[in-house]
Amino acid sequence: MAKRVSASNVTAYYGGFKAIENINLTVEPKTVTALIGPSGCGKSTFLRSINRMHEVLPGARVEGSLTIDDQDIYDRDVDVTAVRRTIGMVFQRPNPFPTMSIFENVVAGLKLNGVRKKSILEDAAEKALRAANLWGEVKDRLAKPGAGLSGGQQQRLCIARTIAVEPQVVLMDEPCSALDPISTLAIEDLMFQLKDKFTIIIVTHNMQQAARVSDRTAFFSIEKTGDPGRLIEYDNTQKIFSNPSVKKTEDYITGRFG
């Protein structure tokens, strides 16, 4: 239920603009990897190229190769929608479907997969909501609109929606940046539990968060505006935060720039 993600020489463009260049990194199964770096250095871009969400924008394209367990996800014969089901994504702003109930939100992905049987959907919804630590709060109002929950609950609902389809890898782009400290802790706890089953890659601007939740940390940066983002250092989180090998990393995590 968890797969290794490998990027080699990944370069991504928005039209003519090169946003990231030659990213090489491997993420081991059942780990949490944090992507950190100053704003605009291409963390989101890299994350979105891992589940092929990048190419959804007009003019955007990716070069290089990205594999999960040795399968190239950019292969011509690969079904994009299958890639996205295997590699789930949680966005920065909670984005439950506003027209759907809590229940419908959680099972939306399963329904897209053609699951119709009510009992299966109900079981899956409960399982996903429990895994997202949300079941207790919503079990009595599953038929209410998902958009009626608090921000933190909505984000956990989105996590439930993502893991309900049982992906191998879960990508999270600043999943806590719109949340209060309590909800943030709830989601961090959740990540600990989830890494038993999934490979997790998370973008965060919060150094403490990266230090708390991740096993490995990748530091991205840019030389100057307009330059493509590059991977500066990638190592065990402990190493990065206590004794980074690159000066720039140290400057960033100690708050001297970025």
Binding site: S44, R85, G88, P94, F97, A108, L112, P145, T162
Partner: protein, 363 residues
């Protein structure tokens, strides 16, 4: 290339917009606006400076404007009441003089002595042509709108959208003449063919003549309401938050599945509103139907045979020849049309209201 439309990746979800529009009561913005006016008082001690707060103004632009809007609102109300009173006053004598049942009699002879006329067939024709027109126009309009908003490249989408808006500006008499003089040919041929092979379906039965039929009328109507329904639904589809479209795509939805999970449900209230506007136009359409329908007074589901009539078309066709009772009768029919339109709108509101819990957090 792009599976989502051409907007930035992190446009907001629906959630946040609501709170703003709901938490401000109507007067709130007005009260805010007063503050800067007061601080600009001459000799003031500067923004938020010491000294007593200036007194609230008794006569300001604010009050004058409020008075003006109130007057405008009242005038509209008075005009509406006056029109209604006039119409009802005209209609009642004609209805009194009518010796047949106004609701069920199939015929229109208000100028005879004694006058006989009934609204049944006209109301039936009005609703039938409008419903058929919607049935034909709405799926096509939504298809075009989805194509323009989510499939076509942005430039092509905008250009075609503009063309469709132009179509909406064509006067209805042009559509009517075109239907009467040109479209009638192909429609007659189609009618003959439908009658030959599908006459076992009652609506395609009968033995002619074909041409100035409900089919022709509702087809012309469908073409006429197509632009407005298309351009409104296109706007609605373009308003789906990108965040929701991306959520669907990230769950592994194909583009069509994304439209079904995110775009169509989100646009539902808007789609209903667009359809209702189209229906309103179809119900009230006068000259195009006066030119294309066969002007008979019978309740029949047959859509191929020449015939059919609507309230508005009947008014246009019969007003010139009408005497006093005739005009009263036509006005009475107009009131019925008004009632039908009102009922349709109430139903639409009810549909939108039923899922308001969901749509409010959406829009």
């Amino acid at each position: 290339m792009g599976e989502t439309p051409h907007r930035s990746a992190d446009a907001g979800t629906g959630g946040t917009r609501v709170t703003q529009s709901h938490e401000w009561p109507a007067g709130a913005s007005a009260r805010v606006a007063e503050a800067p006016v007061s601080t600009r008082s001459p000799g003031g001690t500067g923004l938020g400076g010491g000294g007593a707060l200036p007194r609230n103004r008794k006569f300001g632009a604010e009050r004058a404007f409020r008075g003006l809007t109130m007057a405008a609102g009242t005038t509209v109300l008075v005009i509406i009441v006056a029109i209604a009173a006039f119409l009802i006053a005209k209609a009642i004598p004609a209805l009194r003089a009518n010796t047949a049942s106004f609701w069920t009699f199939e015929g229109w002879f208000p100028n005879d002595n004694p006058p006989t006329f009934g609204i049944g067939a006209l109301a039936f024709g009005t609703v039938l042509t409008a419903a058929l027109a919607l049935l034909m126009a709405v799926p096509v309009a939504m298809g075009i709108a989805l194509f323009l908003s989510h499939y076509a490249p942005r430039r092509l989408g905008n250009a075609l959208g503009f063309l469709i808006d132009l179509l909406a500006a064509v006067p209805s008499v042009v559509f009517g003449l075109w239907g009467r003089d040109y479209l009638i040919g192909p429609v007659s041929d189609l009618s003959v063919w439908l009658n030959k092979y599908f006459s076992w379906i009652p609506i395609f039965g009968g033995d002619g003549p074909y041409g100035n039929s409900i089919l022709l009328g509702s087809l012309v109507l469908a073409i006429m309401i197509l632009p407005i329904v298309t351009s409104l639904t296109r706007e609605v589809f373009l308003q789906t938050p990108t965040a929701n479209e991306e959520a669907a795509i990230a769950l592994g939805a194909t583009r069509w599945e994304m439209l079904r999970t995110a775009v169509l449900p989100y646009g539902r209230p808007g789609i209903i509103a667009a359809v209702m506007l189209g229906l309103g136009r179809a119900l009230g359409e006068t000259i195009a139907l006066a030119l294309t329908l066969g002007s008979t007074y019978a309740i029949s589901f047959n859509v191929l045979e020449s015939g059919g009539n609507t309230i508005a078309a009947n008014i246009a066709n019969r007003f010139a020849e009408a005497n006093d009772t005739g005009r009263g009768a036509l006005i009475a029919s107009g009131l019925v049309l008004f009632a039908i339109t009102l009922i349709v709108n109430i139903i639409a509101r009810a549909i939108i209201y039923r899922r308001r819990e969901f749509t409010e957090s959406a829009a």
